[in-house]
Structures are given as C-alpha cells and as structure tokens.
Symmetry: C2
Subunit: 250 residues, 2 copies
Amino acid sequence: MAKRNIKLILEYDGSGYHGWQRQNRETTIQLLIEEKIRIMTKESVKLIASGRTDAGVHAFYHVCNFITSSQIDPPSFKRGLNALLPEDIFVKQAEDVPIDFHSMYDTESKTYEYRILNQEDPDVFLRLYSWHIPRHLDRDEMRKCLSLLCGEHDFSSFKSTGSGNLNPVRKMMRAEIHEPGKGLLHFIFEANGFLRHMVRNIVGTVVEVGQGKIGFNDFVAIFQAGDRAKAGIKAPPQGLFLIDVRYPGM
Amino acid sequence: MAKRNIKLILEYDGSGYHGWQRQNRETTIQLLIEEKIRIMTKESVKLIASGRTDAGVHAFYHVCNFITSSQIDPPSFKRGLNALLPEDIFVKQAEDVPIDFHSMYDTESKTYEYRILNQEDPDVFLRLYSWHIPRHLDRDEMRKCLSLLCGEHDFSSFKSTGSGNLNPVRKMMRAEIHEPGKGLLHFIFEANGFLRHMVRNIVGTVVEVGQGKIGFNDFVAIFQAGDRAKAGIKAPPQGLFLIDVRYPGM
C-alpha cells in the first residue's frame, strides 16, 4: 500500500494536559491523538509536530503530520478524530501533503502570543488563559526591550537552563505588544525557531522592566550576556498560545 | 455587638460547581463562600443571594448579602475572602448596606446573557462558555420571537416543570440578540424576575425557530399556551451568564 503523509492543523486548550510530547504515564496531547489515529487506521503512528508545548500552554494553530498506509480521506480524518477526541482538542484541518513534508524541520516561522491581564482585579474567566499582573506595567519601556530582539541574535540568555547544546541563534521577525482593551496585553513573537522556554523567559524579563524592577540598560546587558542565570523569571505557562506556523510555499 | 449587613458582588466560573445553592455533600458556590466567611468571622452565616444559578452557569455580577456581628471592614472582607477562595470565584466588591437590605426580595431587575457559538467548527476555548450550534440560525426570525417577550406576561410556557406554584407573571424589559463577531450570538434578557430555567427554555425554543424546526407562529402559540410541555428544548447551562442585578436607588 502506498504511504501517505497527512498534515493536521490543531487547536487545543492545554489546561488539562502535561504538554504536547509523549511522556511516561502522563496524558499528553500527542499521546491522545496518536491513540485516536490508531483506532481509525489500525496502525501505530508517530506524530511529528511543529513544536512542543509545555503543560498548560495552548494552541490556536499547531501543525503536525504522520505517515500512514490508510485509505481514509482527509475530511473523514477530521470528522473521525474530532468525534474521538475530547472537547478540548480540535482538528481544524486534515490534508494530504508530499511524502517528504516534515512539520518540524520544514518550518519557516512560528508565532507565539503571550497574554497578560494587567489590572488590579483578576478575571476568573481568564485565569487559565493569561498571566494576571495587578501592578501597572510601563508599556513604552517594555516595547523598547522588544525592539532589540528583532533580527538574528544569540538568544542564550532566554533559553531554559536544561536545554542542551542546540545552536542558540534565532531570527526574530516580530516582537510586539498589542493592547486589545480590558486590561489585556498581547505579546506577539514570530521567529524562525524558538529555544526551550524562550518566550516565557523573554516575557518574564521584559515584565521586570515594565515593573521597574530592572532598567532597560539591565535588559540590554542580560540579552548580551548570553547567560540564562542573569535573566528574569519565567512567565507562567497559561498565558502562552502557539498561534501560527508557516512553511515555505504553503 | 451591633449587627451589620454586608453586600458582596461576585464573579464566578460555574464550570466546576454544582450551582449556587447549598446542597447535601455537593460543592456549591454558596457553601464555599459561607465557609470562608465563617473562617474570617468565627460566625456561622447564611448567605442570601439575588438568585440561584444552576450547575455550569456563570456570573459576571452576582449579588449576595449576610448579617454579621464582625468588625471586619469591607476592604478586608474583599481581600480576605479572595485570599481564601479558589481562583474561579472572585469577590469584586464588599460593602456595608442598611440592615434591612435583602439581595433577593429587593431586586429591581436581573440581566442574563446567553452565548451561542453559531459556526461550523467548535472553539475549544469557548466549550465551557457557550452553546455550539453548527447549523446557521436565522437571526431575523429569532429577533421576531424575542420582541414578543417584552412587557408583562405569563411565562409559564418557559418555566421548569418542577418549579412549583410561583406567580408566573414577569415583566421583561429587554430581550435582544447582539452579534459581537466571530460567530457569536449573545442573547440579553432583563426582567424583574425569572422563573426557574426560564432563560434556557426561551433560548432553546427560539433556537428551534432559528433552525426552522418550528415557525414563528408556533412560537406565538407556545408562548400563549402557558404550558411548558409544548415548548422546545432547554438550552445547556454553560452558555448562561448572570451579568447584572439592580436594586432601587442603588
């Protein structure tokens, strides 16, 4: 039987999961979807993903793919998986792609959004979808920090301490703050790749500048030091959303 | 010690609770708050509420009050209760009110919002906060139904079958549909009081008109019949939000 390569576009609420990646004994999103594909295809498949999200992190647009010999057409994959998956994971699209498409290696850019609720009172409906910071944040100072990040840089200062010896150079295309109202701040980051916890480490450090705990010059020094130990705190996971993944010519 | 009457304005996500009212062995919002007040005041208090919400129903603005001999000032009640309560319940305000204020009997009007997501695909982030209806709903036909409801009427057709012999006449001041975009329909109902499940029964029946399952004339007949058995289905709880409670001169 000819092999096919199926690409899935997913949306999920990460609140109830131990992140994307397969782990022992923990319920992960990857594990659940692989299990449902196995039910549909009678094959054991391995999902390749555009990236991994940590526990509590969400996705409006996550891309993954798998190789199968199944004859099931893409709309039936979408319908069938959505019937089998719990309500907090949704397959927005399924499609046949070239057999050599790889949702991780072929990525052109990924975009993350980090949501902060910056007002005195919390919002019970946003507790799983934002980081509540009661104290006022200085938007101008934070924007100055973000403007430094665009372009090709060594992001070692913002990588997780346990993230190994990967090349720490990434190209950042966008680093912006949007203010949609109601006390919300949406940080948007688009880059050709992200180091582990990079968005959360950047946001945590930029917030310290916004609070006046450290100055803009300190931020510059932290960024240039290339040393994670010098940077600020890691922002909590529930404010983070993967919102786009782009591939060349797709 | 002089008795005081404390009014609380609450916000809560009802997803994790068996509704507002105290029940045996079930976790209800009333029970939790009474317990936290007892911890603060060392008194056993009875919370009086502007109304009861069912399991899964939410509130942006719920009013309750309790009588106490405690000397704790209102800001300390707000701060203390919020420190003790879980993150899905929030006390927005606490204030001293006249000793004879009663949050249920003194109500001038209450406003409910019912949220429907009317698009083919569901939204994982709205699954606990809306009713997903994939099939297109005819807004004009639904608005015709709602316009009938304003004014003083016998709402027996939309009361829950087990709701007893309360006077079924209520005065509806507003019955509207708002369209904030992204496939959302927000039904707004303001009345001087609501029968049990009245909003959900109205929405369920109006949706049947919107889907073309029954016609506008059928809706008129159902409303006039005064018989719950003739009406449509009851809309699910998770789309319902209590959004305002008004008192004369407050």
